[in-house]
Symmetry: D4
Subunit: 226 residues, 8 copies
Amino acid sequence: MSAALDLGFAVLDVDRERRQGVAEVVYAPGKTVPQIVAIAQALLERQEGPVLVSRIEPEDAARVGRSVRGWTHHPDARLLVWRARRPAADAIRLTVVAAGTADRPVAREAALVAGVLGARVREIHDVGVAGLHRLLARERELRAADVVVVVAGMEAALASAVAGLVAVPVIAVPTSVGYGAAFEGVTALLGMLSGCAAGVTVVNIDSGFTAALAAHRMSIALRGRR
Amino acid sequence: MSAALDLGFAVLDVDRERRQGVAEVVYAPGKTVPQIVAIAQALLERQEGPVLVSRIEPEDAARVGRSVRGWTHHPDARLLVWRARRPAADAIRLTVVAAGTADRPVAREAALVAGVLGARVREIHDVGVAGLHRLLARERELRAADVVVVVAGMEAALASAVAGLVAVPVIAVPTSVGYGAAFEGVTALLGMLSGCAAGVTVVNIDSGFTAALAAHRMSIALRGRR
Amino acid sequence: MSAALDLGFAVLDVDRERRQGVAEVVYAPGKTVPQIVAIAQALLERQEGPVLVSRIEPEDAARVGRSVRGWTHHPDARLLVWRARRPAADAIRLTVVAAGTADRPVAREAALVAGVLGARVREIHDVGVAGLHRLLARERELRAADVVVVVAGMEAALASAVAGLVAVPVIAVPTSVGYGAAFEGVTALLGMLSGCAAGVTVVNIDSGFTAALAAHRMSIALRGRR
Amino acid sequence: MSAALDLGFAVLDVDRERRQGVAEVVYAPGKTVPQIVAIAQALLERQEGPVLVSRIEPEDAARVGRSVRGWTHHPDARLLVWRARRPAADAIRLTVVAAGTADRPVAREAALVAGVLGARVREIHDVGVAGLHRLLARERELRAADVVVVVAGMEAALASAVAGLVAVPVIAVPTSVGYGAAFEGVTALLGMLSGCAAGVTVVNIDSGFTAALAAHRMSIALRGRR
Amino acid sequence: MSAALDLGFAVLDVDRERRQGVAEVVYAPGKTVPQIVAIAQALLERQEGPVLVSRIEPEDAARVGRSVRGWTHHPDARLLVWRARRPAADAIRLTVVAAGTADRPVAREAALVAGVLGARVREIHDVGVAGLHRLLARERELRAADVVVVVAGMEAALASAVAGLVAVPVIAVPTSVGYGAAFEGVTALLGMLSGCAAGVTVVNIDSGFTAALAAHRMSIALRGRR
Amino acid sequence: MSAALDLGFAVLDVDRERRQGVAEVVYAPGKTVPQIVAIAQALLERQEGPVLVSRIEPEDAARVGRSVRGWTHHPDARLLVWRARRPAADAIRLTVVAAGTADRPVAREAALVAGVLGARVREIHDVGVAGLHRLLARERELRAADVVVVVAGMEAALASAVAGLVAVPVIAVPTSVGYGAAFEGVTALLGMLSGCAAGVTVVNIDSGFTAALAAHRMSIALRGRR
Amino acid sequence: MSAALDLGFAVLDVDRERRQGVAEVVYAPGKTVPQIVAIAQALLERQEGPVLVSRIEPEDAARVGRSVRGWTHHPDARLLVWRARRPAADAIRLTVVAAGTADRPVAREAALVAGVLGARVREIHDVGVAGLHRLLARERELRAADVVVVVAGMEAALASAVAGLVAVPVIAVPTSVGYGAAFEGVTALLGMLSGCAAGVTVVNIDSGFTAALAAHRMSIALRGRR
Amino acid sequence: MSAALDLGFAVLDVDRERRQGVAEVVYAPGKTVPQIVAIAQALLERQEGPVLVSRIEPEDAARVGRSVRGWTHHPDARLLVWRARRPAADAIRLTVVAAGTADRPVAREAALVAGVLGARVREIHDVGVAGLHRLLARERELRAADVVVVVAGMEAALASAVAGLVAVPVIAVPTSVGYGAAFEGVTALLGMLSGCAAGVTVVNIDSGFTAALAAHRMSIALRGRR
């Protein structure tokens, strides 16, 4: 009946899946492989849905995979997954748009996490505003989505441009791509927050993960309304 | 057929209602009363839905109201409105939660703008985390919403606490409430961005308006799915 | 033979027109009306080209105008001018593009100062990236320019979008338009510096004046080459 | 009679135990193992109470331990100790509360240093505000303390929540846990300083050590009053 | 039985006195005189201990005083008080030390609020470290305290110097005194947080009020132990 | 007919040479050698002009060179080039001026990239303002240019000094040279933006590349006018 | 025998003249006219040398002057003085150099305070580095000084240029002149601290006063050595 | 007759010794050993006084020493020296005061460079203000100096305390000692700039070298006056 499970080095909130629709996600940095293994096993035993480890290095993923079966590893998104869901026919349609090649890992994290949680996901890459024709060529695909995640670094202009093209929710993810005045993503973050298109919301720098969870919250709201 | 209307001192995007589901909102600061009157009239003529002027001072609102009939003025939210929508029975249910008394104007702006655009809105005030019983007493009301807007200044802890209680989307609005290390809302903004609850999205400081528009985008997504 | 003229409260660099192609411009803030009058008179006597006072308030402009004849006053750009040049048929073609209504004063300063110094100037307003069709409708005009000045606040996405459309020099002017995370133009400045389009250069916040002088330097280079 | 002892590479304040109730603590970073050994020996000879080395790496701790006998090593708190005190029955009761797993090392440092100096210490882990039930389940334990140390990173909301539950002193320790907008603990620091609960005091980022010393100062005040 | 009292424009936490030992303090900025009057009356009716309004301007204090009897006004600390406590013989001894003349208002706020809540308070002014003899001449008085509040702006060196002289708790209050590189108190704040004396805790800029409440929390801990 | 070429890991904008006069430049950091090889080959096949890889480490350059023939490697500018243009007799004359020895790599990048694109380039090194005679000795060379790029770190005073000596465009490149208060180039950047000489434009920190592209845009404008 | 004089609202350090060679200087902002009068009278009675009030507004200066005879008022430096010293024939020779007209008030404060304390002072104005000939024309005067104070805002390049011309001490005073990226003097401050000329020292923004006192300390060192 | 010597990779200002009383000092970071050797040899041939390499790593120093004879290496100050001067009997007396053990390397750099250039230097270590008795015990030594260099990190309170004890010039050197809110020396820098003692000047973070050069400028001024 207790909602907290004490592993010695960490106390898990094993009630979260029931409360929030998704179990605690394991953030790998700072944890040892045995710790990740112990948490993953505990979650697999006590939760029913997907279990995810985020920001995990390839070698660590391999070592965890040897101890806990049934995983899928997505190295480009640094993601380790058990029990990925399959999107239902009426699942939320999420489009992830990324400005440049260097923004891909963050965009992939957003797309994969949302997919694992059950969304129907489409990805559009390399459509930065320095070549507007590339973005405009994808307008129809953008308009087909229920929610759009925009991933961009540097001045992050893509968020405003996309939000002007669609009427549905736009979640902006600033990335740490760029150098000098890009200040490790701070410029992109501030640009997205003060952008000129109405109704855009923003998450932390490089946090494709948070964008996916925000999209998942929308899918819960949608389901609750049918 | 032109989507742009040139008023001499400004060019209006009169196609926006069709494209985005809501007309351009007039941001009052920096505009003269005659300019606001001219824009409001042009929008009322060329758009069908609600027309809004935000951040308008009481005397200016009175002067605008004398020239353009049919307005409602909400001084606590500094908002002037024509043709407010009535929420349909199946409209989105939005709950706006505010931490303290000083956060009210921002919370009111979020609630009123969302309501004008057709949402069913509920407001909860003065439930800062320094007295957790106040927040927990409203848990049931929070869980009844399709989307929650959390308005808080200072350390903005309320966003994480609320996001742990509900599974639906949480839009966090940092406010410039506080002094010294609150840095005019920057601390609240950064706190909400790096908060410990998963899937929270954030808008600019004091921007109840952006939160309302983000909620409106969700209501468009919901409608599109039925 | 002395290149410096001591007015008691200031020493003028009366050699600058010869050296740089344009006389010292009088920056009004912090100077009294009698001081501005004295400097303007001294420059009119010792220089041959245009004389300009920038950032001057309307009442001060009126008072200066009473003492020094032959002026033109541009209140929207806070500019006072004597001996404006007329653009020659082969003068440089400058296009000034502004994102929003609030960016107009800065855009006007850039356009008027450049015009006074002899450029052929065109202005394009209200083409922010939240409505890309507005910008794309002006692509032909943009491509007709020898140099483009882009004026934008908030996330300043317009600079990258424009720079992707033209091959000629793009000078970006960030403005202090926006609130909260716009940080009085700092976000726009950093966004323009780290923008994704190649070869854009940037000037100080709200400095339409610097952009005009930079364009004038280009016109000198062009002339030197014929 | 001299209160300063010159070791060649450092001058020790060997009077501090008498003046402040606790000897100088050795901060390991930047010191060589022989230097740490020399300081520890000098302090053990000239002071009567506990001697501590903080932030020491495991290999250095092992090497120091080989030269200076009687130590205890706490690797999770990076702490090396000689002559730890045992808490008296009427010693101060300190509770250390930590928000997440990643905050443990800092919380452990606070708990262990305070314990070595004679406090009766209790630790509560993983009670971040994203799952308020976890915190509320520990309310009774919190209320049993004479002083509470709250350790949290990211938005550091835990400090306000705890301070609303207890009436005794609350010392808040921001940690560098988090990424992006967490800015290496700066967001947590500012959040704790501008928190909404009254009477909370704050120490430097990651400084469990300072919190323990502040608690020790309170225990001196308490003792002085009996 | 309800712990929250809704005044229409604000919801009071009327349970706080029982929970925390002191009622909610009314922060005047942003509130109208009628609002302050209503809150003060509500608190006087439902609480038993002192009622305080902080940061109140003289004219507002006079107007509030006309409606709610029994007040004392301390203009130098911008404080309005009802039902100030008298310190018991065994009350906590608090010494407030201020660096310079300009730090007085903040020091006075700390001293008066603590006194109203029942502490025995002593004040020491103008003992900045640029004249160390002034501080050293007061060493005996400093050592007689149970807790010391240090108030200083600019580089805030006084906190470290005082903390080296006493063994009891030191609460440091940075002030916004200074110009240029003092950055409105930020330099003092950072200096106090990274000071070289062990165990100092810090509160927000100019917040004499928070320091007084922190001292009050210590007095509660002391009382609980007897 | 498609302007975008999808390589799987990146989508190339192969229309850029036609639109902007120069192909996309490959920014090496974050790309693997096989990725760089693939992009370089694709560009060499589909573009006619020069192909460049910037910020490439020596070993990676060697490995790329083994797969794609016809390269030139400039290790001091971390640049790899195919099909460098030869400057025509009437090409733009660019002078690159650098303040100190540590600014050389950035200055070399600016000079080499501009040269590859067809400019006639001259370099002047070690003329920091702490020895003004060094700069003044080169005044004639400076005046012979059509455009000047100034590269400087620390306080970046050289930009203002040079801009006072020439009438043509001055593009300022701040460098990350310096320590402490130089803040990795931020001080130089801000100094150049707020410099006292009129009409200077600025690019991102260490971005010799952007300065070269800006100069190339000028050369396109010049050519368009003949 | 007491070195501290308590005026009720302030405690004066009346021993400072003996210890430091100059009495406490009265910083006017934040003090009432009666307070300034009381302090000035106390200092005139108990000190022998000059008495100064800095940063005083004209009307306040007039009111103080009516109560305390023998004053000189320098409105351009916001300075009120009693008992100014006359420079001895062998007094230190100080040259104050200012970059622009807007820097004059700060330069005047430095020059006048140093003069009142006994230095032989020369002033050079309007020699910003954007017109190097102006500075070089004054090289001989600069070389005649024992110490040079350089006053400049914006990018503050003048400090490095001057320090390259003289071998004696250079004290740099950044000013808040400029806008946007000048950040109220912060850019000038950082530029002077990280300047490329060796051995320059820096004082707080706009603090002509501190520079004068630093020069006075040098004059004490010089005198001590004869 | 040329004042500049071109080594290919750097242009030396070989006139500086004549102009400034000391040759260019070689800053080692970023230079190869052969480059340092070449510069040192060139300076030894063309200058008469001391030649210094600063911030050099031990192995590099050894390698340079093998090629250029007659050196002295000070590893604790990372300094390599040829032709150190011996202080004359009437040389300037410099006292370097350091707050803590971790400040030693910077203090040593200041002391050694000043000594090499001819000053009579005394060092005082470990006299931080957290133990004021340590500082006061050295008051007499401090008063015997012609100029004092104060080296301190963290809150840098030592500068104000020392400047209150002596009347001669005080040069403050902030160090990067500390963590968290010490911000790599920024807090110390700002504290020293806004300190409460009059007439202190400040140099860049960790720049013992600049302090030594500033002291050398004073010794030149002193010599010029005899």
